[in-house]
């Protein structure tokens, strides 16, 4: 078997592997469905456990290592041996890029000039350095650009809901208008498909996510840019690609070329998605190469091959010169970006955003942001759909991190799924009985709207939905004089702050749909003792000096960030 034939077989194997991995990624994504109030049974955060970028950044930000995330070490070890095959063979985002790039030739002429190495490819290393510096200083912004986070967030928060809306529009359109020819009804065809979609794929009621336009646009742009340059994202931006590149400086498996066979046809240049310079003997860029074997398969003269070379031998390869000054500038840029994000009062615990209601088990804000990779797993699994990506609520530092928006959905009492699926434990995996008591906020009545207060009408909707077994909303019976002078005895609701967990179902179910008459704010949240205005205990005056009235001895200001 010739070198080229062998390479072409390997390329087919690679394509099969890529398809399979993308399939597993999408399967795990759809398997992340709410189930009985416990975690989904499939290992839905598997890809994040495997992500060395998430592993290292979480480690740097928090100085702790989670056992399972050490799977990322396997990826690093593989990279040391084979180079960036992770990018070429495994990464599901990379596979999507490949798919889009495959139609590229129909849109534009592909010339060696556009396929050759560009110094702009160094940009990803600058991005990586800046992000790592931010991480060391405690800001986990990796998630905004990490390929798994970005892909998961984009598909689960935008693509899947959009597909659900389309399916629903078609199926319900057919169902309600019922076009038929005699006994043949079109709905007999669409209904089983819709049922399958709802039960197997969507698995929830229709989901909506606020502020996802930007997520969708960035995702679309990342894919469309493949028409400009093959695997644009992977070449120029991807911080995970950059990290793996640093581990691929001297892999054991290296591209070798026979200069005597090269007729400078540049077929290999056109075949290379990574612009790794296969066409220049001794100038092949190991840190850029995806190990995809396209170049080997493209060479008419059998002049290229991957060969095992001991690491002791300095590679016959070129190197991307990042440059000390540029690396330093990137680091400074990271510090500048971090500082800019931290200027805000909320970032310094001077103020607390009442709308920033974090899921139950979320760590104190600073610790939370050190871990959250903005992947969207928690938002996707939330059975009520109440967990939404932040936009400005948590500052730029907390962009796309989860917050509960009770106007959309509430924290379901019999559920702790968000903490179970969180890949970095930014949301702690609380046992269900602990989660049921976890306080994430406090319900507040707007008596200018609440029906008994403002309109003298009966309404008990908030109380009946309050999930606390002995009710955090109670009634005071009071008389209300009506317009005609008659007197009605009505139930006036009141919140018991000791019992209220801030789950938000009262706000979701309130008869007012524009701005509920009972709203949940972040006050009283467990994670911030300084944001707890109300003394705990049913009688706060009983023994003010006996036990710690704050229920927490360590104040936030002294926690050392």
């Amino acid at each position: 078997m010739s070198v080229v034939e062998r390479a072409r077989r390997i390329i087919w194997v690679r394509r099969a592997v890529q398809t399979a991995v993308l399939g597993i990624f999408l399967y795990l994504l759809t398997a992340n469905r709410p189930a009985d109030g416990v975690a989904p049974s499939a290992p839905v955060d598997f890809f994040f456990d495997l992500d060395p970028l998430v592993m290292v950044s979480t480690w740097l930000a928090t100085h702790t290592l989670e056992g399972i995330s050490l799977l990322g070490l396997i990826v690093l070890a593989v990279t040391l041996v084979f180079g960036r095959v992770f990018c070429g063979w495994f990464c599901p985002f990379g596979t999507l890029h490949n798919a889009v790039a495959s139609v590229r030739r129909q849109f534009r002429r592909v010339a060696p000039r556009t396929e050759a190495y560009s110094r702009w490819q160094r940009a990803k290393y600058f991005v990586f350095i800046a992000l790592m510096v931010m991480t060391v200083l405690g800001a986990q912004w990796i998630g905004v650009l990490d390929p798994f986070s970005m892909l998961y967030r984009s598909v689960s928060l935008t693509v899947l809901p959009a597909a659900d809306i389309a399916m629903s529009a078609v199926a319900n359109g057919v169902y309600l208008s019922d076009p038929h020819l005699g006994p043949l009804h079109l709905r007999d065809l669409t209904e089983p498909v819709y049922r399958w979609w709802q039960e197997r794929v969507a698995a929830t009621e229709l989901r909506v996510f606020s502020g996802t336009t930007v997520v969708f646009l960035i995702f679309t742009a990342a894919l469309v840019l493949n028409l400009v340059r093959n695997r644009f994202w992977c070449r120029y931006i991807c911080p995970l690609g950059a990290m793996l590149g640093l581990f691929a400086v001297r892999p054991l498996l290296r591209l070798t070329s026979d200069p005597d066979q090269c007729n400078s046809c540049q077929k290999c240049t056109l075949a290379c998605p990574a612009a790794a310079q296969p066409e220049l003997p001794d100038q092949w860029l190991a840190t850029e190469c995806f190990g995809c074997w396209n170049c080997v398969g493209s060479c008419s003269n059998q002049g290229l091959d991957f060969k095992w070379i001991p690491p002791t031998r300095k590679s016959s390869a070129g190197a991307v010169d990042i440059g000390k000054r540029r690396a330093l500038a990137s680091a400074v840029g990271g510090v500048a970006a971090l500082s800019m994000m931290r200027i805000t009062p909320a970032a310094n615990a001077k103020t607390y955003n009442p709308a920033l209601i974090r899921p139950p088990g979320a760590l104190a804000e600073r610790d939370f942001l050190q871990r959250c990779v903005k992947c969207g797993l928690c938002m996707q699994t939330c059975p009520s759909g109440g967990l939404q990506p932040t936009w400005a609520e948590a500052g730029l530092e907390g962009l796309w991190s989860p917050m509960l928006v009770p106007a959309i959905g509430w924290c379901e009492f019999e559920c702790h799924a968000c903490g179970q699926v969180c890949p970095t434990e930014a949301i702690q995996p609380l046992p269900l009985d602990v989660k049921k008591k976890a306080k994430i906020g406090l319900a507040v009545f707007d008596t200018n709207r609440c029906l008994p207060f403002a309109y003298g009408r009966e309404c008990i909707v908030c109380e009946e939905h309050c999930p606390v077994p002995d009710k955090a909303i109670t009634f005071e019976l009071r008389e209300a004089t009506q317009r005609d002078g008659t007197v009605r005895t009505l139930k006036f609701p009141r919140v018991d702050p000791d019992r209220c967990t801030g789950c938000g179902i009262c706000e979701t179910k309130c008869v007012f749909k524009d701005a509920a008459a009972v709203r949940v704010v972040s006050a009283n949240e467990d994670r911030h003792p300084e944001n707890q205005p109300i003394l705990s205990g049913s009688d706060p005056f009983a023994d003010p000096y006996g036990n710690d009235p704050y229920g927490n001895s360590e104040s936030e200001a002294s926690s050392g960030y």
Binding site: Y175, E412, V461, V511
Partner: protein
């Protein structure tokens, strides 16, 4: 897709026509009863002495079978090839032991009896306050109904259609299309406490077939529930009082609020059945606003004893 279609027009015509005749509802029911002299109400109880250590699954199945059999069997209501909508209370993501939802074995048995009577399709569904998938599963109803050959339906928000309720208070309101299209709707509520109406019974359970801003109904619950009951023209209602929620209803959550009663009652007269339910919870039926309102409107009788209910004691 809110444009009017031929099917809608036919349905609307039928419903308006139906609304006009419901004023004579009770009279018609009585006439029908006189014709075949079948009982209008049946109460099956687990003997109090045997209740303590009873297997509640077996009890729920036996009681439901006995209650339906005493009414003349499911064949009286279900025709071969019918599409049936069984409407349990699956309002909450709660386990059966907490008595917030209808007993799953009661629901399963009703489904099985429908299938045995020749029903083509038995759909089971509710419009829960909690996420439907969690509520269907945790209530145990999905498992029981599917084992009996039923089909759980998750309501689709786009399939509620404004229907002419023609009530005294409600002119029109969105009702679930598949429910309105069913040949028979069997209401299978659970008896429980309710913070606003004192008890949640059969009529109140119809809140699970409507859409729209349901929270607004609480401002005039009695009229709204009476109107939807009149619109639904109940033919068969099966009241689950195997476990009863005595406080913190309708959601409950505290096992101490649950009382094991071991009763299943069934009736063609939904008002009488609710009067019985109110009595079981220690209320005078006339004090339950919507039950009294429905009786006043002639939808049934508060004096359930006047129906000479068939009583069965099981053990």
């Amino acid at each position: 897709m809110s444009g009017s279609t031929r099917r809608d027009f036919l349905k609307t015509s039928a419903l308006v026509g139906g609304g006009l005749v419901t004023a004579d509802f009770l009279a018609l029911t009585r006439a029908a009863l006189a014709a075949d002299t079948l009982p209008a109400m049946a109460i099956a109880r687990w003997s109090e002495t045997a209740l303590a250590g009873a297997d509640l699954t077996a009890a729920a199945v036996g009681l439901t079978e006995a209650a339906i059999a005493s009414l003349g069997g499911m064949d009286r209501f279900v025709k071969k090839g019918d599409t049936i909508w069984v409407k349990p209370n699956i309002g909450w993501n709660r386990r059966p032991e907490l008595a917030a939802n209808t007993n799953p074995d009661v629901v399963g048995t009703v489904v099985r009896l429908c299938k045995d009577a020749g029903a083509k399709t038995v759909k089971v569904g509710d419009h829960p306050c909690h996420p439907a998938r969690q509520a269907y599963r945790n209530s145990g109803i999905a498992k029981a109904a599917e084992a009996a050959g039923g089909k759980m339906v998750y309501l689709d928000q786009k399939r509620f259609k404004d229907m002419p309720i023609g009530g005294e208070f409600l002119d029109k309101w969105p009702v679930y299309l598949e429910v309105a299209e069913a040949d028979l709707v069997i209401n299978v509520p659970i008896l429980k406490h309710h913070g606003l109406t004192k008890c949640s019974l059969s009529m109140k359970n119809y809140m699970g077939v409507i859409g729209g801003n349901r929270s607004a109904w609480h401002q005039n619950m009695d009229a709204c529930v009476t109107d939807i009951t009149q619109f639904m023209k109940p033919q068969l209602t099966v009241l689950d009082a195997v476990r009863v929620l005595t406080d913190h209803g309708p959601q409950g959550g505290n096992p101490e609020d649950v009382d094991v009663r071991g009763i299943v009652a069934a009736s063609t007269d939904v008002v009488a059945l609710d009067a019985l339910g109110a009595t079981l919870l220690g209320h005078d039926p006339a004090e339950i606003g919507y039950v009294a309102a429905a009786a006043n409107r002639g939808l049934g009788t508060l004096d359930y004893a006047s129906l000479n209910p068939v009583e069965k004691i099981l053990s």
